[in-house]
Symmetry: C2
Subunit: 195 residues, 2 copies
């Protein structure tokens, strides 16, 4: 805990952590200010004082940053695997991860879905498309994001058989060539192309 | 409407359709017997008479079949694209699709998640792994399922930018080589392998 954290800052941080947990566990609609206050061991009025409405608290709680630095994006042979490794690590982390909360809520709430669309596009898909060469860069970047989302959700969130129990390195080894296909489609020399 | 459908059968069918819609829209937890009865334009007691509990109604409502016939599975050059085409068509269909309802509920409800795991594994991943050659067939089949799920959910359910608006044929053209990589990894002659 940072030395300079005041009582107010501590309460604020505890509320945000509790909010991520509750939104992540129950989704936006079912999570309540009352439940979040209880999880943060503070009064309901403190939540309202620091964050206003449930909607405002939600927006702040799920304000996640992509785990890669857009300025350092490279598109090379190992890059797909590295993105996937980072994303799986995010998803495998504590269940109060902001992305986890946003994702779970986005499935049943349109406002959360809109927030997910904005964050994914500006934080990941657009920078990735910028760094990619060749045609269809934006659609390829969006597909790459969708594919990694599918693997991360099914492994860490839905815990699908085989995938959830597989060794991480096996998942990355088998996914790597597939992700590379999207990063560098090389249509002119595609060895899989039908003659 | 089939000619022989009795009044009871019609009510039953209407309740199932309404249940898929409500579970798909709201997820398992938030959908209510009362709301489903209202959507089916019948009495709450009819729902209970035909299906018992909300849990039993849910199990029946989401009893979806994979859109491919496991006995006809082939693993060839076009197969990945054909699976994805079928899955996207399912997701793009009416919002009372059983898979849609199951998926949305599975994100926030463990019982729905368990049902999704069972159905996906026995209905799609296991038959696909049987039809695949080479090592890691079950993990590759699970990855294929996760990848298609990611594309389908982000395109049809979350309506992600670029992906939602893209032409279906472009999505399939760019996804095909990637899916083929999982269906036929050919590690011995992998042209992408680092030397």
């Amino acid at each position: 805990m940072p030395e300079k954290e005041t009582k107010g800052e501590r309460t604020r941080r505890r509320i945000l952590e509790a909010a991520r947990q509750e939104f992540g566990r129950q989704g936006y609609e079912r999570a309540t200010i009352r439940g979040i206050a209880a999880a943060a061991e503070c009064d309901k009025s403190s939540v309202i004082k620091y964050f206003g409405t449930k909607q405002q608290l939600f927006r702040e709680a799920v304000d996640w940053q992509a785990s890669f630095d857009a300025a350092e994006l490279r598109v090379d042979d190992r890059q797909g695997e590295e993105y996937l490794r980072a994303m799986l690590a995010d998803f495998a982390g504590p269940r109060n991860d902001p992305m986890f909360a946003l994702l779970r809520s986005a499935m049943t709430n349109e406002e959360a879905a809109q927030l997910l669309r904005e964050k994914t596009t500006t934080g990941a898909v657009d920078p990735l498309a910028e760094a990619m060469e060749g045609p269809d860069a934006r659609l390829r970047a969006a597909l790459l994001s969708a594919v990694m989302f599918g693997i991360a959700v099914q492994r860490e969130m839905l815990r699908m058989p085989y995938l959830a129990d597989a060794d991480l390195e096996d998942v990355l080894r088998l996914s790597g060539p597939m992700l590379r296909r999207l990063l560098e489609p090389r249509p002119a020399q595609d060895p899989d192309a039908t003659p």
